[in-house]
């Protein structure tokens, strides 16, 4: 589903955010991406969203070689990838319902269908009762779940998350990862960047470790110490 082949991303000014990174994610996999801040996690996600282009190497998502694709097709790629941001990136002047419906508005769905699917997505993240609320009246965990609802409402085959538990307490973080597991169980490929090592260990999934832009380790879920039996 996602393939990186010897990918290097070099910013102007010389520092390489990613160096010669190669890995492959099968459809339906759930994988964690970890490493210190500045190790290149965000850059890797940005490349999948086509917010940036690799300096060298190939990035292939769902059969599309993003490196060869013109930037004007980026929106099309992004519609197939649900992205969850650490700061949620919700619009404060729109209700929860309107925020979640954005991807469907962009796709130009009928209002009845939008309504149905937005409610289904909100139901999945347990926020159906808050559809008319304003984002700022919600707690951090709730806002994050609105972000997730927005990411999954278009039913993309790939879900990315950048430090989704960054501002949440451990219990909420566990709940959130549980939610990702549920979505993954329905066949969505999930890639989560996180440095919550304890939680990652407990999840027992495959882990990619970035260090100074290089892929330092690729650990299979079964090999994780403390993995669930």
């Amino acid at each position: 589903m996602i393939t990186f082949e010897r990918v290097t991303k070099q910013y102007e000014g010389g520092t390489a955010a990613l160096r010669d990174v190669s890995f492959h994610l099968d459809p339906g996999e759930m994988v964690f991406l970890t490493g210190h801040s500045g190790a290149g996690k965000s850059t890797l996600l940005r490349l999948i969203l086509m917010l940036e282009k690799a300096t060298r190497g190939q990035v292939v998502v769902d059969g599309n070689n993003l490196t060869r694709m013109p930037m004007r097709l980026a929106p099309k790629i992004r519609r197939n990838v649900g992205m969850i941001f650490q700061d949620h990136k919700l619009l404060k002047d729109k209700t929860v319902f309107d925020n979640v419906s954005l991807p469907l508005m962009i796709a130009g769905l009928r209002y009845q269908d939008i309504r149905k699917r937005v409610r289904a997505a909100l139901d999945k993240v347990g926020l159906l009762s808050k559809e008319k609320a304003w984002p700022l009246t919600l707690s951090g965990g709730e806002q994050q779940r609105v972000g997730i609802a927005r990411a999954i409402v278009g039913m993309p085959p790939v879900l990315l998350a950048d430090e989704p538990t960054g501002n949440l307490d451990p219990e909420l973080s566990r709940d959130l990862f549980g939610l990702f597991e549920q979505l993954n169980a329905q066949g969505v490929t999930v890639l989560i960047a996180s440095h919550d090592l304890a939680l990652i260990r407990r999840m027992g999934r495959r882990v990619l470790v970035l260090s100074q832009g290089c892929l330092a380790d690729d650990i299979a879920g079964a090999d994780l110490a403390g993995a669930r039996a």
Partner: protein, 320 residues
Amino acid sequence: MKLERFRRRTRAWGRRQLFSLFSSLGTLMSHRAGTLMTVLVLGIAMALPVGLYVTVKNLRALDLKQEQWGTITVFLKTEADQDAAQALNDMINGRVGMTSDVISPAQGMAQFREASGFGQALDMFEENPLPWVVLVTPQPAEDVPLEAAVAQIEEWLLQQEDVDLVQVDFKWLQRLAGLLALGDALISVLTVFFSLAVVVVVSNTIRMDVANRSEEIQVLSLVGAGEGFIRQPFLYSGFWYGLLGATLALLLFNGCLFYLKRPLEGLLDAYGNSFTVHNLDGVGVLFVFFAGGFLGFIGAWVSVQRYLRMINTDGMLGRF
């Protein structure tokens, strides 16, 4: 199958347009004071060329209607008598495109006495010093300019035997024609400048709109909105600004016209012309609306396009 896909896409497009439409109206309504200011500026900017256009149009109507300004007064030689005058008159009436009347010295004296107020002074003349006069009114065909017709007749009249002097109120016509030409040129210049002003004003307003909503634009981009989807509401906003500006311009203009109409018609009546002020016609009104909307659209396009180019530069979008 293909048709079905096409229809689905068309419908999706239509829904996106509808979304943009309401979204843009919502934005305009959400900061009414700002919208009002912009529209006011646009309205004034558009009212000026409209006003000048209608003024020139009215002057032109004046030119066509008031043929007496093209009247030619033919003074016969003092020795010419009534028969000569009558003969000339018949000759003129026989020509295409003009009519004429004979004024006897007695009639002329009576008119002069009445109009000038020199009655007593005139009594000092022992005999009437006025010659016979023929008053010629050219009525050229639609496609012949009055000036050309008058010039032609003047030339012909001067060749006639009994004619002493031909006087044409021609300077007036020439000046008016000159003024009208100047007016036309002025309209062109004003229209270009004020169109530019409308584009710049809308563009600036939309630029601020865009800046205020840059967060929203970035989020939209991140969740897969294409340039069209992002651009659309702003283009609609620009269109609304232009259209509202045009509406205000027409209102302002009509207000001015209403206020000026009475004194203007009174003034012209005093000059002996029955005259009604012409307003902008239906086509003109439609054109003002169209021009307003179009210029607003262009202004918005300029701003949004610049912003989109900026955020779509590699790596500029949605730092996270």
